[in-house]
Amino acid sequence: MEAGDERALAALYDRHAARLLGQVMRVVRERSEAESVLMKVFLQAWRSAGTFDAERGSVLGWLSTIARSRALDHVRATARRERREPLGDDGAAPVVLVDESIGADPSATVEERETRTRVEAALASLPQGQRAAIELALFEGLTHVEIAERLSEPLGTVKTRIRSGMMRLRELLAPLAKEIAS
């Protein structure tokens, strides 16, 4: 039975790790740090299996929520640390390493590439204001109040943009989104 726990975790990892690493890297950017966050995501999932409710959402949705939270925690902790630490001798700001593999994963299957293309095309079809507000929420962890402040837009406008954008994406992606999450 105990070996079964690990087999279950391994099965979960094999099925979802690449998608979750892609998600984490959109927030954390640097691969080694993103992989460290991904480890924490799966360890948290293993420790807190009791919080998963199959009636309330998919396994990938549950893992994705954990991944978002851990990635944002990591970025915020790094930002706090960098505020406390003085710059280097040359006064230069820390270099942010962007991993180019975010753009194209050579190991992705044709099906995965098609899925990505469809999802990104749907997002790209939204008006710029809707897309920006949704991306700030998803990848920077901002609430609608913070997004309104960041974009210098009225709160009501931002809420409407997120709502309208998500409704449109639901129309465009409904069958695919269910398939991805299942």
Partner: protein, 277 residues
Amino acid sequence: MTPYSRDELLQLAPLYAAGATTPEETAAVERAVREDESLALEVAAYRDVATSLATARSVAPSPDLRARLLDAVATEKQKSVPAAPVRGAAVSAVPSGQRLSGRAPLPRWVPVSLAASLVLAVGLAAGAVVLRGELDAMRSSVAALDARLAARERTLNTLLEAERDLKVVYLHPADGGATAPGMQFFWNAKQGTAVAHVFRLSPAPDGRDYQIWALVDGKPVSLGVFNSDADGHALVESLTLPPSTAGVTAVLVSVEPKGGSEQPTTAPFMGGSFPAS
């Protein structure tokens, strides 16, 4: 009791799924979905959309990461393996649903074949049933406290961070005496946030709400809808403000159909002049 109507919760569903709700709104949605199946389905549909957006870009992990994860799990399991039971004290005597004190519960995952995540999902859910009630109650309690704390922080922030940009409007009925209802309206022009404190105002009649308006260049602009509690109090924080205070001359309150109106449909029953800059 959630301060949000069902319509408001439905409106919040896409924002919640995108992760854009405030802690208070998040807690309200999470409480509501436990009791409202159709709302839960609505939220789940938007969460699938958010998940597909968030996870659209696959990136293959380094080949050794899987082994490192399984090593970490094995190490953790060793640390949490219970000591051998005292002779004669059968572990099975512990009632189901009760934790062995002092030890973290091990995840109750069932073994899975290569088949998968659907089976895995069902296994996870079944294994977690015993703990879920307790966890839900704790999470709900913590979320409610978090929401209250966040609301207090926002209120304080609105009042304290404004410095010289805090505009205060005292609203009262035209013929109000010492026991008449009133409102203190605090507008932080620096942050574009506001808080309204309402007192001695009886709850609106059935099917009605109170609506706050700013008079901007002589035209009413809705700032938000509220209702007072049985004691006549309300603290209104979710207000939609114009981009600036330019042209604002007064703040007014009227009684409107539930959910509010585009324009006032009844004469405002209390108001106050907006302070000149």
